[in-house]
Amino acid sequence: MISVCELLRMVDLEIMASQVTTASTINSLPLLPYYRSASLILVGNLKSLSAALKSSSRMESDSPIEINENSYQVHDFIWHSSSQRSVSSIQSIQSKTSRGHSVKEVSYGELGSKGVRHGSMGAESEAFSASYKEINDDDARLIYINDPEKTNEKFEFAGNSIRTGKYSILTFFPRNLFEQFHRVAYIYFLVIAILNQLPQLAVFGRGASIMPLAFVLLVTAIKDAYEDYRRHRSDKIENGRLAWVLVNEQFRQIRWKDIRVGEIIKVSLNETLPCDMVLLSTSDTTGVAYVQTTNLDGESNLKTRYAKQETQMKNLEDKKISGLIKCEKPNRNIYGFQANMDIDGKHISLGPSNIILRGCELKNTDWAIGVAVYAGRETKAMLNNSGAPSKRSRLETHMNREIIFLSIFLVVLCMIVSVCHGLWLGRHKDELELMQFYRKKDYSETEIEDYSYFGVGMEIFIVFLMSVIVFQIMIPISLYISMELVRVGQAFFMIRDNQMYDEASKSRFQCRALNINEDLGQIKYVFSDKTGTLTENKMEFQCASIGGVDHSRGEDSIEDERTGYPDQGDGHVLQPKMKVKVDQELLNLSKRKHTDEGKYVHDFFIALAACNTIVPLTVETSDPAVKWIDYQGESPDEQALVYAAAAYGFMLIERTSGHIVIDIQGKRQKFNVLGLHEFDSDRKRMSVILGCPDKTVKVFIKGADTSMFSIIDRSLNLNMLKATEAHLHAYSSKGLRTLVVGMRELSSSEFEQWQSSYETASTALMGRASLLRKVANNIEHHLSILGASGIEDKLQQGVPEAIESLRTAGIKVWVLTGDKQETAISIGYSSKLLTNQMTQIVINNNSTECCRKSLQDALAMCKNLTTDSDATSGGSGTGGNQLALIIDGTSLVYVLDTELEQQLFELARRCTVVLCCRVAPLQKAGIVALMKKRTDDMTLAIGDGANDVSMIQMADVGIGISGQEGRQAVMASDFAMGQFRFLVPLLLVHGHWNYQRMSYMILYNFYRNAVFVLVLFWYVLFTSFTLTTAITDWSSVLYSVLYTSVPTIVVGILDKHLSRTSLLKYPQLYGAGQRQESYNGKLFWATMLDTLWQSIAAFFIPLLAYWRSDVDGSSIGDLWTLGAVIMVNVHLAMDVTRWYWITHAAIWGSIIATFICVMVIDLLSFLAGYWAFFHIAKTELFWLCLLGITIGALVPRFVVKVFVERLRPNDIQIVREAEKFRSSRESQIEMNQIFDPSRR
């Protein structure tokens, strides 16, 4: 007997041999991260591998299996390496149904930030390996069924009470503080405050120096406390819910938090699962339970879970059940589970389909009983309870660069002060002892000592530290807080924007990440998914080719109110929930069962109604006589087909695991489902074996055209096949998604042979999935073709206009889709992505060499074109020689992660449009990464499905469409919205605003803090470099907290230089953000120059005006404070473009508040400056100085501003003027319909 191991090695060799031709590719393949995932499937070597498996499975059936680890490594290698060649397996039609697998790749694969702990193996290989893999005792948890005490002997398992709250009352302060100090800025703050506590360094009063930090910490702590309080409240509700638990052989209601691991729990219809449990039995005799996982992954369709037959049979209430489950340690992989169960001496393996998770809801099943395996915080739902990964905005990254400049500047200032102080000490070293204002010697003791004098070196050092304390706000810490607040404000406006509210899904815009708002204003590349993003993903059955005859819905299509044949069996009229337009001719044809044509139609619709995994649900309606049938299923294509079948009178009304009931033209017929080969992405088809009412056994198969034509018997009716093929081509070029349907009648011997192997396979302990696949392959051949269906994936409303707008804005839109090239191109045309003027470059190769050649050709061609016409300018506009690159997933395999990447990048950069078709989820991320790595331009990825998660996470900005396909994408995204077209207001309007506001705010904050620091610095030069501040401690502290902070936040949230209308009318205005016009190094240095001048004006005007007068320090300090504050606020006022009453209140209010604060400070008799303000404010000179400071400091800036606006106006300026002076004429014309959903 050959061991499995050897067999696998043989396969390995075979693969090697077959790979000789493409050896170079193979060598590089293991390096391709995108293909290392095992959920991609064998194609090229499928035959050889399945042959190997065939023989190995034969052995399995009669011999106990002993497999050593090595063989599986070998196997894994084959699996991986060969799967890398399976590019053509990317699904055109049912790619969405393999979502479970792709999610795994996405979340836990190479790209996932959460590590690869849970393996990058796909579900199939996992299922394959799960059954044989003994779980190591160390890594397992043992659960004694119905014996919670024994299970949790060591008290190591969590109880079922959950705590999402982070803190308790006791731990709040230490933990919250600890978390807050993770921010570097705060540590800087703290170090400064601590330095200031040292008596030698105490520059500020101790209270004054702590205050800003304390204030910030307090605000954050209050916010955190409130959030935590809300979490505690919801935890309490959650923990107090009731569940039925088996106690002393009776089900009793206990609270959720008291549930323990090992207990047996009964859940009824529509109840929520209290913990993760292994199913033992369900109300369904076959052990099926349906669950809805909306709370877990957001997908609203029903999923099936199974109880093992061994436990299903038991009557739990009568007989005490006992057993042992050995399962893996709690982990966050919601799609994986491995366990073994020992019950009644039998050893059963459990997989992901046997566990139902906390948070799911039981549907369509009266009750389910299970044993708790993970509880409380160890449930998969709770382990997954973490937010989206945080990204850092481009602006903030750039800002950090400037912060470094400021730090250097700070150090330079401090060095100047300390070195000068050292020089001063040196020059006066003979005089220090008696100098009245220095008094180096302390004569109060008998022994005369130095008084607080530590030698020149030490003094210099102390002065250095003191100057750091005094000049600390050079690093604008308040800026970080202001930015947070501004972003919250911006998010508020984005969420509340009526134009980004989706009526259809009733969903608002969502800001899930709060720190990249301003990135929305700088996007250069948009990577879009197609299905569900550009299109609605509401599949609609459009046309069918049945028996070689095309039944495209023509002019005569009708929408029959009474569509379908209402079933009146139990006094109710059953109607499908969704109406489908029907083709009258086809409808008539379907009723004539006995003609040849009618027979095809009949079988075709039976196939549509039967060959699926749809679960029909009966829903009550407002009309008691009518019930709706709602088809629940994982694939929207299948739903569309079943609805179509129902419309033509083949209504699926019941499905159990053993049979289905189809209402055919008003007559109920029961079909026994003898076997079902589920869709998998390597066969790309599914089949169902039906025992028909007429006692025949038929296999119905539907699948993608490529996979179907290979198994159709070409000897039968070749003409029909040809016709169907032609129709298919026509459909897909219309942008329809196509499926081919076939059937075969099985002879009884054939059936029996199949049945036995099917049973063997489905009860096999090892490699069940691949065995089943093999069985399926054996039966799926020699089909006769029934026809093909065309399903329309409707374009979302406003998509072409939105794409047009984005393109005018200079944003390049790339579409990455799993669809076929023809479909993708046709959608490209209908969405105006592609136009007739464009030169299309199609790259569609399957070897590295070909790819290289076509890339080189394409590059050469586009270089020619670009030199002909200078189209490089901006990339916008509607020039003639635009290029469109169309590349498919197969080619990408040879390009991504090889040296060809650079060429692809060069090419893609020159193209206006790039269309990638038949790409796998990880390839999508790869493409995004390709652009992200090589350019500084911002990327945005938008998608709706789980297959887009990787690209959403990869891109600088990820946007999820909360659409039909669950919430996976939304959960991973930074922003979520209802429709693709909202991208236009989001980017062009909000992004633009956010960017302008934020960049102005950052520059302004740098300026306002630096101005103040410089004013302090100039004064220090006149105090023999000893860091005396004329400005009181309290004013120094309040300056950035109170005197100048509110206006910048208000302006940062509210100011807008252009109205929404103008921004939408001139999408080109978006370029300002892409070109980083509002925040760049040049602007920073210009601002700093201005800052220098303003600080000189603010300091030296009072200084020289009061030179040699009897003014005291406090009075002139008040003048400097007020001068700086007024100047800084008027500076802001000068730049405000839109004055709301709030802006007025904030700016003038701040100035008034400063006056009040200065007065209050001068009313405190224990401070040195008592009454100083009231003395100096009596003099005219004081007010003349204030006016002089404000005007003198700001005139240069104003002059530059005025002349720039006049002579070199930027686009924003011109449109702003146009808005004001031309608006009366042109207003309201441009309210383009796409931006106003209510008009559609």
Binding site: L434, F437, R508, Y1106, W1107, I1142, Y1170, V1202
Partner: protein, 347 residues
């Protein structure tokens, strides 16, 4: 701050259409200022025609101030004809010797008529009353409250005397109180200097106690400056109060008193100075100043010059702007100036 969760939760729960308000849609009524050429010109011209007059009146006010400044520290000390270092030491010895008579008479001639009140100041140069160690060396609580006389925090090294009794008023500032005295003779007739109300009223009422008396002041070997009459409460010691308002800059004047009569031009004023205060150790300068004041205070024309400069510059800019406007007129909001209209992508 990751409040993203909260935001998304709340928005997904009540996924209703946001209620329309002009605020949430950012459509609040607003004033949108545009800097039109007319406005700009008006602004600059306005700046010019307001600032120049203010500047001129400031200058003339400064011009009207009559002040006499006499530096006396060099002349009121014997000259020692030895090497500089020795001379320096001898000077210090001289000034620190309390027993010698340091009277010094200076003669000044009034250049112009001076109307009363005429202010008498002493001016110190290179005396860092704003030195950090110095500024901090005081304790306001002790000055205000008789029961707090032991509170001498921050006052070192002038906190306690050799017997560890607290010094009132403590601290370096009080210790170094200026102690030159002046008396004036006009045509050899004594001219009284009114030393009443030279300190701030607020200091007298709130900052210094009416029942706090000097104690142990200048009782140690090193004398920094003036002694205080122990029978007069602190708030009556006007010279101390003036001195304790530390000056902002290293060159400063402090009010000494007022002359309540007019001085005519060319009158001869004799100043009898008791030259006690030691600025010789650090080469500080001492000056005697009598000055009239106007609405801008003392003689200082800097601000006037600033105003005239700003005003003049504004007018100049206005002219420059007009010429730019005439040479290169640009209609406001003309779409043809938009970058994408100026250089359309060539076909």
């Amino acid at each position: 701050m990751s409040s993203g969760d909260g935001a998304s939760q709340s928005s997904s729960k009540k996924s209703k259409k946001p209620t329309y308000s002009r605020f949430t849609q950012q459509e609040l009524p607003a004033f949108k200022p545009i800097l039109t050429p007319g406005l700009i010109m008006a602004a600059f011209v306005f700046l010019g025609i307001t600032f120049i007059p203010i500047g001129l009146s400031h200058l003339s006010a400064s011009d009207n101030v009559v002040q006499l400044v006499d530096r006396y520290d060099e002349d009121c000390i014997p000259t020692y004809n030895s090497n500089p270092e020795e001379a320096h030491n001898k000077r210090i010895q001289y000034i620190r010797d309390a027993s010698t008579n340091k009277t010094c008479v200076r003669t000044l001639i009034v250049p112009k008529k001076m109307r009363h009140p005429i202010f008498v100041y002493y001016q110190l140069d290179d005396f860092y009353q704003n030195h950090r160690r110095y500024v901090k060396s005081r304790n306001d609580e002790q000055y205000r409250n008789p029961s707090a006389e032991r509170k001498t925090a921050n006052c070192e090294p002038e906190a306690v005397n050799d017997d560890h009794e607290p010094i009132v008023p403590c601290g370096l500032i009080a210790w170094s109180l200026f102690n030159d005295t002046y008396s004036l003779l006009r045509n050899d007739v004594p001219l009284p200097i009114n030393k009443k109300d030279i300190a701030w009223q607020s200091d007298k009422t709130h900052k210094f106690g009416s029942n706090v008396y000097p104690k142990n002041f200048q009782s140690r070997s090193l004398i920094g400056g003036a002694t205080l009459n122990e029978s007069i409460p602190l708030n009556q010691q006007d010279d101390l109060l003036v001195w304790m308002r530390t000056a902002a800059l290293p060159s400063f004047r402090k009010l000494y008193g007022r002359i309540e009569t007019d001085l005519e031009a060319n009158e001869v004023i004799k100043v009898v100075i008791q030259n006690n205060y030691n600025t010789y150790t650090f080469n500080g300068k001492k000056k005697f100043v009598i000055s009239t004041t106007t609405w801008i205070g003392g003689k200082n024309d800097f601000l006037g010059k600033v105003y005239i400069t700003v005003g003049g510059a504004s007018l100049f800019i206005a002219i420059a702007f007009i010429s730019v406007y005439l040479v290169m007129p640009r209609p406001l909001g003309d779409p043809s100036y938009l970058s994408w209209n100026k250089n359309p992508p060539s076909n």
